[in-house]
């Protein structure tokens, strides 16, 4: 558009965006810096704004032995987080995809009832009914198992709704063409719906992976064995609250490590992630 321009109005967006980027990055920068100094420097409040010489020591210790009180190596915690996140992401995609398929491509008694049963759970995270859910998981013997970490969290309406919406955008003529071409429901699912959903699945995978990785209260409650703990919970254990000092350098090291996988996933899969996010929610 033909517009009157002014150097200030040209610079303003850059200025504001740079400030925004700075504000968003600053806490993480401090954490990174924190992960490269020793306990004393941090505890005395004399940590500078630039990285120190203890990076290797801190990261080796976090990955190898872990914090003093928890004593669990970060590697193992990350593996648990990874398994949990993966199970949640894949599980959610699998069950919500087929249930959405049922709702969209079939008409059967109680279809709407089933849909509503699922839909009501849309915005009800496990936190609201945390103790009863814990009790139920205990009753079915899933404490301290990957299944216990993942399965209760894969019951979510969001993914089902997303797939439903996506399926509704598949032209109905494709079903009709398939029918005329002699494909039944399972064949249609396998030959057409599945391949068409690949990007949706990938996008959803990114989001759910992050969701799973970032879980906190749930794994905190249902894992009792240290070797089942996840990394996000592990950090909380590093934040000692009594009698001893927090090993901030290890806590920060662990936090940086814990943040890395999901942030990398977001950065690498940015396009898919943004698409998935905007579609899931709308």
């Amino acid at each position: 558009m033909v517009e009157r321009r002014h150097w200030f109005s040209d610079m303003l967006p850059h200025l504001i965006l740079t400030i925004g980027v700075g504000i968003l990055a600053f806490p993480v920068w401090l954490a990174v810096v924190g992960s490269t100094w020793d306990a004393g420097t941090i505890a005395n409040g004399t940590m500078p704004l630039y990285p120190g010489p203890y990076a290797v020591e801190n990261y080796t210790r976090a990955l190898g032995h872990g914090g003093r009180s928890s004593g669990e190596p970060v590697g193992m915690l990350m593996l648990n987080s990874f398994v949990m996140a993966l199970a949640i992401a894949l599980g959610k995609i699998a069950i919500s995809m087929i249930s959405a398929y049922a709702v969209v491509y079939f008409r059967f008694p109680f279809r709407m009832a089933a849909f509503w049963l699922i839909f009501i759970t849309l915005m009800l995270p496990v936190e609201v009914r945390i103790y009863p859910t814990y009790q139920v998981v205990a009753q079915v013997g899933l404490l301290d198992t990957y299944a216990g970490l993942a399965v209760p969290l894969i019951a979510s309406a969001t993914a089902t709704l997303l797939f439903r919406q996506f399926f509704m955008t598949i032209p109905p003529e494709l079903v009709e063409a398939s029918k005329i071409d002699g494909a039944g429901p399972l064949k249609f699912f396998k030959d057409t719906v599945l391949p068409l959903s690949i990007t949706t699945m990938a996008a959803l995978f990114v989001i759910q992976f992050i969701y799973g990785w970032n879980q906190y209260l749930w794994p905190l409650l249902i894992t009792t064995r240290p070797d089942m703990q996840t990394i996000v919970v592990g950090i909380k254990k590093l934040l000692v609250t009594q009698d001893a000092l927090t090993e901030w350098q290890i806590a920060m090291t662990t936090a940086v490590l814990a943040m890395l996988p999901p942030v990398l996933v977001v950065l690498v899969m940015q396009k898919l992630f943004v698409r998935g996010l905007v579609e899931t929610e709308k």
Partner: protein
């Protein structure tokens, strides 16, 4: 090999001690394996234990801090009394071998010892001697007014962010304070004589302390440092030169403080009749959870016997700052001349045995005491933040505590 789960709340240096104990026990025999798991703070560990029990997944041994005692005692079906277990397992166990204050605290009215004493502590006043010197304070203050005075001097000498502070505020400012001044925290010998107790810690003396602190908070002569471990950090970093906390903090001070420090007795109001009386024990004991097999209990019993070993107890005391819980261990350390070299390491024991305990200083046994501590903390915060008058805050704390006590009374399975 039978696995024995031991959930605990020991952090920092004490955490190393616990891990070492488990490792040593595991190395000493082949039949059992003790797996020590850190479950977070004392309340977190207790919470995890309760939740796990409800889920049918309780550990064998649960470390519960002293104020959880009533909760555990009331849970008749959930626990296995230690004395009984030791007997069944054929292990030697004599409650009388422990310091009386400890035995009394963890035994029923009938004298059955329900839990195994592990890390008993008392509250002491940690001081930064270097700082005192700089502020020209010759003597470690003994009374509250002296502490206030010292705080002011320290402030003037550059410790302007914090003259003195106290960790575990409800423990320090209400529980130990009551016993040390021989005033009741609650009725019925602080609950030792039954669950139908009522709180009393809004007495004039209690209000006096809080009023003083509220006034000093204004210029940070006293500075409240939250409910977490900021206190400890501020002491070791040198920010706060005087701090009340557990004697069990020793290992961590030693590791982190770069100055000359000492553990002094808790301060008292000199005008309070009978003060100082005696302190009550803090720290925690080990509870054995119910519903396990005989073989497992046997392992637990073996482990406890292992822990009671006199040499081991003595070492524990020296390394961690917790009390030598058996008389034998105390005697042994004393005999070694350790206290001559390090007189302040005897401070907590001296506090504990300062006088013959009274109704008000034998111990505490309030139901839902863990929640009550939160209420007290909240009301202290309200007062210190100036949102409520000290009197009002303590009155509210008392009435809220009483409501909780009533609820506990209703549900406690007796």
């Amino acid at each position: 090999q039978t696995e024995i789960q031991w959930w605990h709340a020991m952090t920092g240096a004490n955490n190393d001690v616990v891990n070492k104990l488990a490792a040593d026990f595991n190395a000493s025999q082949k039949e059992y394996k003790v797996v020590a798991t850190y479950k977070g703070s004392y309340p977190d560990a207790l919470n995890a234990g309760i939740a796990a029990f409800r889920a049918g997944n309780a550990p064998h041994i649960l470390q519960v801090f002293e104020v959880g005692t009533a909760t555990m005692m009331a849970a008749k079906g959930a626990i296995k009394p230690v004395q009984e277990m030791m007997k069944e397992a054929g292990e030697n166990f004599d409650p009388k071998s422990y310091l009386p204050a400890i035995t009394g605290y963890y035994s029923t009215a009938k004298g059955d010892m329900l839990s195994f004493p592990f890390n008993s502590s008392s509250m002491v006043m940690w001081v930064n001697r270097d700082a005192l010197k700089k502020a020209n304070i010759a003597e470690i203050p003994k009374t509250w007014p002296e502490v206030f005075e010292a705080g002011k001097k320290l402030k003037a000498a550059g410790w302007d962010k914090c003259g003195f502070t106290a960790a575990w505020s409800p423990w320090a400012l209400v529980e130990q304070f009551s016993a040390w001044h021989n005033v009741p925290m609650g009725t019925k010998a602080n609950g030792l004589d039954g669950f139908d107790t009522e709180m009393k810690f809004n007495s004039p003396l209690h209000v006096k302390l809080l009023t003083d602190l509220v006034n000093l908070q204004k210029d940070k002569t006293y500075d409240y440092s939250g409910r977490g471990n900021e206190n400890e950090g501020r002491f070791t970093s040198g920010e706060c030169p005087i701090m009340l906390t557990s004697s069990g903090f020793y290992g961590n001070v030693k590791a982190n403080a770069k100055f000359d420090f000492a553990a002094a007795p808790m301060p008292y109001y000199p005008d309070a009749p009978g003060a100082p009386q005696n302190s009550i024990i803090g720290g925690a004991s080990l509870w054995v959870m119910g519903g396990k097999s005989a073989a497992e209990y046997k392992g637990v019993a073996k482990f406890f016997t292992f822990l009671s070993d006199t040499d081991r107890q003595a070492k524990l005391h020296i390394e961690s700052g917790y009390l030598p819980i058996t008389k034998a261990a105390y005697d042994k350390v004393k005999a070694s001349g350790f206290y001559k070299d390090f007189p302040d390491r005897e401070t907590p024991i001296k506090e504990l045995t300062n006088k013959e305990p009274t109704e008000n200083s034998r111990g505490l046994r309030f139901g839902n005491m863990v929640q009550i501590r939160d209420m007290i903390s909240e009301e202290l915060e309200n007062a210190l933040a100036g949102k409520k008058s000290p009197q009002q805050a303590l009155d509210d704390a008392v009435s809220r505590s009483n409501a909780t006590l009533r609820q506990f009374e209703r549900t406690a399975g007796r």
